[in-house]
């Protein structure tokens, strides 16, 4: 590695525990789960009725103005609400988390030259608007008169959140939108570190935002059979013998990542060093992870190597741990093969699977290892599974001081990313 090191100097989060990083940190430190019945839409007839839902029913101008503070111009959020932009919950979550990270790192004018690297989930389609255009079994949308009227949005563009963060924060650097499904958040943070290390940026606002807690998101995942069929708060039980699926979550986590010497020179306090990262592809099937976990193992191995460490240096693995029958054994095999008995947990039982934002919220959770000497627990884990032969931390967090932690994220389609964080010196 070169002399330039990437450090995290600010963090912001929105999760099922509430708005703000402290809500996430305190919830995980208390070993609680925030999964519960869906409230933002009437999901009573849907196959999945629980989620790791951010505890607000509507994302609107009021929500943004309450949490965004001075970065918004007067009336700006109201205009966005009128034009339907805030119906996509991840736009609001991303903006709020970005503002918190920006303030936490005490960024100023100089950091506005920085880049934005963000993982975002797929477009939110608005079925009720599309329904207005239904004509004899066909949806007639397109150019000209078929483009919809005032306030109509057939979908929100993938990069809408990035566009708004760039504009509101006033960033003048490059913008990269990672569209790598559940690996997007981890990839965005890894990309930020790469930009810093190779001198392409001195500061990067990075992370991810997503929400699939909407009729098509929840419905589409249900059709795939990915969520647990149990509509209970304990529906997601990563690595547990009785696990039967994931729980959809939503939210955002954003970080300010800077070149270390520059960050220290301006008085910013590093929360963690991004010591290593790597990506691989399963190249197996569209519908399932590679059962032997070999490409996930390759990503973890390479992240450790890039950090100039050995597996024994890693004191905690934050697993992708979806709680699905197929993911957990494959990942467990890979973790066991590389790290042996290292303490491992998944926070998806507590906050749900944040999809594109999963890697980001889980990296935010990993900061607990350095800020509070706590390794997050695995909510609802009770019965170990011989198919997952790893040292799973139970529902309560483990008090332990470690210097390096590794976080995995694996996307639908086979994209894998591992990010390795180190305790700042």
């Amino acid at each position: 590695m070169g002399a330039r090191r990437a450090v995290i100097t600010g963090v912001g989060a929105v999760s099922a525990f509430g708005v703000g990083y402290e809500a996430l940190a305190n919830g995980l430190a208390a070993g609680r789960s925030a999964v519960g019945p869906i409230r933002s839409f009437d999901a009573r007839t849907f196959p999945t009725r629980v989620a790791g839902e951010v505890p607000i029913e509507k994302t609107n101008a009021l929500f943004l103005e309450k949490h965004r503070g001075v970065l918004l111009h007067v009336g700006e959020a109201g205009t966005w609400e009128e034009s339907g932009l805030l119906r996509d919950r991840k736009v609001c979550f991303g903006l709020v988390a970005a503002a918190e990270a920006w303030r936490h790192a005490r960024c100023g004018t100089a950091e506005r030259k920085g880049a934005l690297s963000i993982g975002l989930g797929l477009e939110q389609a608005f079925l009720e608007d599309l329904a207005e255009e239904l004509d004899e079994g066909e949806i007639r949308v397109g150019a000209g008169d078929l483009a919809g009227g005032e306030g109509v949005r057939f979908r929100s563009r993938v990069d809408l959140t990035a566009e708004k963060i760039r504009s509101v924060v006033g960033l003048s650097g490059r913008v990269a939108v990672h569209a790598s499904a559940c690996a997007a958040g981890g990839m965005a943070v890894a990309h930020a570190a790469s930009l810093i290390e190779r001198g392409a940026a001195d500061a990067v606002l990075c992370g991810a935002a997503d929400s699939m807690v909407n009729p098509l998101g929840i419905g589409g995942m249900s059709r795939l059979g990915a969520p647990s069929p149990r509509a209970e708060p304990s529906a997601c039980r990563p690595f547990d013998r009785r696990r039967d699926g994931l729980v959809v979550g939503e939210g955002a986590a954003m970080f300010v990542v800077e070149e270390e010497s520059r960050a220290r020179a301006r008085g910013a306090e590093p929360l963690a060093v991004i010591a290593g990262y790597a990506t691989t592809q399963d190249a197996y099937r569209a519908t399932a992870p590679r059962p032997d976990g070999s490409r996930a193992l390759a990503a973890m191995e390479r992240a450790v190597r890039r950090a100039n460490l050995t597996p024994a240096d890693v004191g905690y693995v934050n697993a992708h741990g979806t709680g699905t029958p197929l993911n957990d054994p494959a990942e467990a095999k890979a973790i066991r093969a590389l790290f042996g008995d290292v303490p491992t947990s998944s926070i998806k039982g507590a906050v749900g699977h944040l999809m594109a934002a999963a890697g980001a919220i889980e990296l935010a959770a990993c900061l607990l290892a350095f800020t509070r000497d706590l390794l997050p627990g695995t909510a609802h884990f009770e019965e170990p599974d011989p198919e997952c032969p790893i040292n799973v931390i139970g529902p309560k967090p483990l008090a332990k001081r470690v210097d390096y932690v590794l976080s995995n994220s694996f996307g639908f389609g086979g994209q894998n990313v591992s990010v390795l964080l180190g305790r700042p010196r």
Partner: protein, 354 residues
């Protein structure tokens, strides 16, 4: 990013346009005004059993991407060690089949209105259970990687232009860092999807001359190669200021940004060929004086011939430029793309020895 020495070798290229699937010849066809106008592409149908199976899970762009990835791999003769080959692509919007969406919505109607309760009870069951795989943006990259066994470093960037340039930059960075020795890089997209067309209309792009198109292109790049087609000498995204809340910069601001961007990318080296990829009239006006300022012998406006295919547009322009270098025996080309995301992408390509 300026690449050391001659740059990173480009071993192969594959494009899918209205002229079909081809390895070379795009530049010559455009240069000779012999390229079919942009319209819906008559893409080859899947024939291999695994393609037929997987095509059902694919969007149109994902199938395009698979075709050009396979084309580039074949031309590069990269049959071995595919598990270590990287893949970096600019990908576009969700390409959900409208028939699927219509079935879901139609089955969710009650008394002439969309009913959430009915959607949960009956609507969801009316569409393909694997519908979600069709709509995931990253599957434009992943289907090809799965079918061709590419297991190396990878990234999918959402792109309306600069995301695809970022994909090239990250592929180069990945090779430079030793994360892989070979990578496929490119973009695939369709701006002809009805919802994308509505989006472009609402955003005002169609009124300003954006010609929606579709297509795909992939380059095979490597750390080293004997007699490559060409080299990536430099690649960089240049962010351009725009008024708060505006989608794209003003024409004058884009023009003022394009000049230093071009010189910065070239680092004062001469440039024989300039290929521009402006999304529409305002961007075209901003870039039109550049070839003369750079004293280029030849300039081509890729968008006039190929239309605006969003995530695919920059990659098609690179393929076009590379082919012109080979066809006209010129040493260096600058490709400047200005997509509807408002930023500039600059790529400098050098001619190889093939």
């Amino acid at each position: 990013m300026r690449l050391d020495g001659k740059g990173l070798p480009i071993v192969a290229v594959s494009t899918l346009t209205t002229a079909g699937l081809s390895g070379r010849g795009l530049g010559r066809r455009v240069f000779e005004s012999n390229h079919p106008l942009p319209s819906e592409i008559d893409a080859p149908a899947p024939s291999r059993p695994e393609d037929v199976r997987q095509r059902k899970l694919m969007s149109r762009a994902a199938w395009f991407s698979t075709l050009v990835m396979r084309g580039a791999l074949t031309e590069a003769r990269w049959d071995e060690g595919r598990a270590e080959i990287g893949a970096f692509f600019g990908v576009g919007a969700s390409g959900a089949e409208m028939d699927e969406v219509a079935r879901l919505v139609a089955a969710s109607m009650e008394d002439g209105r969309f009913s959430l309760a009915r959607c949960g009870r009956e609507g969801l069951d009316a569409c393909n259970p694997l519908f979600a795989f069709q709509i995931m943006n990253n599957f434009t990259l992943c289907h090809g990687a799965i079918l061709e066994g590419l297991g190396g470093p990878n990234a999918a960037f959402f792109s309306r232009g600069s995301g695809t340039v970022t994909a090239l930059e990250e592929a180069c960075a990945s090779i430079n860092a030793g994360a892989c020795e070979r990578a496929l890089v490119g973009g695939a997209d369709t701006a002809l999807h009805p919802v994308t067309m509505a989006e472009l209309e609402r955003e005002g792009f169609l009124r300003q001359g954006l010609k929606p198109a579709e297509g795909a292109a992939a380059l095979a790049i490597a750390a080293t190669a004997e007699a490559p087609l060409g080299y990536v000498e430099a690649v960089r995204v240049f962010p351009v200021d725009r008024p708060r809340g505006a989608l794209v910069p003003r024409t004058g601001v884009l023009r003022d940004a394009a000049v230093p961007a071009a010189f910065d990318a070239l680092e004062d080296q001469p440039c024989d060929v300039v290929v521009l990829a402006p999304w529409g009239a305002p961007a075209r006006e901003a870039l039109m004086d550049l070839p003369e300022m750079l004293e280029a012998e030849l300039s081509v406006d890729a968008s006039l011939s190929l239309g605006e295919s969003l995530a695919a547009a920059p990659a098609l322009a690179w393929a076009l430029a590379l082919d012109l270098l080979v066809h006209l025996d010129k040493p260096r080309a600058l490709v400047l793309s200005a997509g509807p995301d408002g930023d500039l992408g600059a790529v400098v390509l050098g001619k190889g020895g093939a």
